[in-house]
């Protein structure tokens, strides 16, 4: 799965997520990447989030919208909201989870419960950051 979240100079947020799905999936299987609130969500008032990992648990946990809800209703900073969404219902919904998220102020988070998350970011014209482990 691949995804991106961005904040432009006008203060607008957007998200895009795309995937080939999981290994050995059945024909017709739908994952989280195309599900609003599951693997993808954006709202200028709160945040934009894109997920990767085990699609079934991301959909069942509605993780992208969970990040939104934790920020909006629990007033959590984006980093804490993402961390909480990553660990939420971990006893019932086991699997790989990764989330990138960004708020309207440009605060952001990249979290996963895995040892590999291919990721990169760049703020204004600062040096880009790229890493895998």
């Amino acid at each position: 799965t691949v995804g991106a979240v961005a904040l432009d100079q006008e203060g607008n947020l957007a998200v895009a997520t795309s995937t080939g799905g999981i290994e050995g999936k059945l024909k017709g299987r739908v994952g989280d990447s195309c599900i609003y609130g599951g693997g993808t969500y954006a709202n200028n008032e709160v945040c934009a989030a894109s997920c990767t990992g085990d699609g079934e648990i991301i959909m069942l946990g509605a993780l992208a919208h969970e990040v939104y809800a934790l920020c909006k209703y629990k007033d959590l900073p984006i980093a804490e909201a993402v961390r909480e969404a990553i660990s939420m219902y971990a006893d019932k919904l086991e699997g790989d989870r990764g989330i990138i998220a960004l708020d309207p102020q440009g605060n952001f988070a990249l979290e996963s419960n895995t040892n590999v998350m291919r990721r990169a970011y760049r703020i204004n014209d600062e040096e880009p950051f790229v890493d895998i482990w």
Binding site: T1, V2, A16, N43, L102
Partner: protein, 169 residues
């Protein structure tokens, strides 16, 4: 000038570090850097967040080292079926597609759904027909199928064959 930021991911997985040799790691990082730049350049020039995320994701869909577009995982039937979505935080409009074959850039199809379709989510043949109607670039099935994914698919088929062999006299 307001602050502008782009963040991308190319998948998360729990894996044995030895399965990603240094040359593969370097290729992945180069692919990430290229995708990041594609989106960042748009933001830097004052473009929209929507254009930036589409450009970044398109770059990874075109790169066979990522599981999206070209290089997507195989279904058990040996096909590549993709899905994608895009959402504009300013308008709360979105477009999504699933079970898509042959469309080179599923994220651009999702954007076309958002901007040119009365629905917000199209799937399978309907999504395909909409892509054709919009004149989006298509590719032959072999374009999407890469050798590493084919190998993984073969391994799954072999595992299944072994499981089934145990169940028959």
């Amino acid at each position: 000038m307001g602050k502008y930021v782009i963040i991308i991911h190319g998948g998360a997985v729990q894996t044995d570090p030895s399965t990603i040799p240094p040359e593969k790691e370097a290729k992945l990082k180069a692919g990430l850097a290229q995708a990041l730049h594609a989106g960042w350049e748009i933001l830097h020039k004052g473009g929209s967040a929507l254009d930036a995320v589409e450009a970044a994701v398109r770059a990874m869909e075109d790169n066979e080292d990522f599981n999206a577009g070209r290089g997507g995982m195989f279904t058990l039937n040996g096909e590549v079926e993709t899905e994608a979505s895009i959402m504009d935080g300013a308008t709360l409009q979105g477009g999504a597609v699933s079970c898509v074959k042959l469309v080179k850039n599923p994220i651009s199809l999702a954007r076309a759904v958002m901007e040119k379709c009365k629905h917000t989510f199209l799937t399978a043949e309907g999504a395909q027909e909409f892509a054709l109607a919009q004149g989006l670039p298509l590719e032959a099935p072999h374009y999407f199928k890469t050798e590493p994914q084919r190998q993984e698919w073969m391994e799954i088929l072999q595992e299944q064959a072994v499981e089934h062999a145990d169940r028959h006299d």
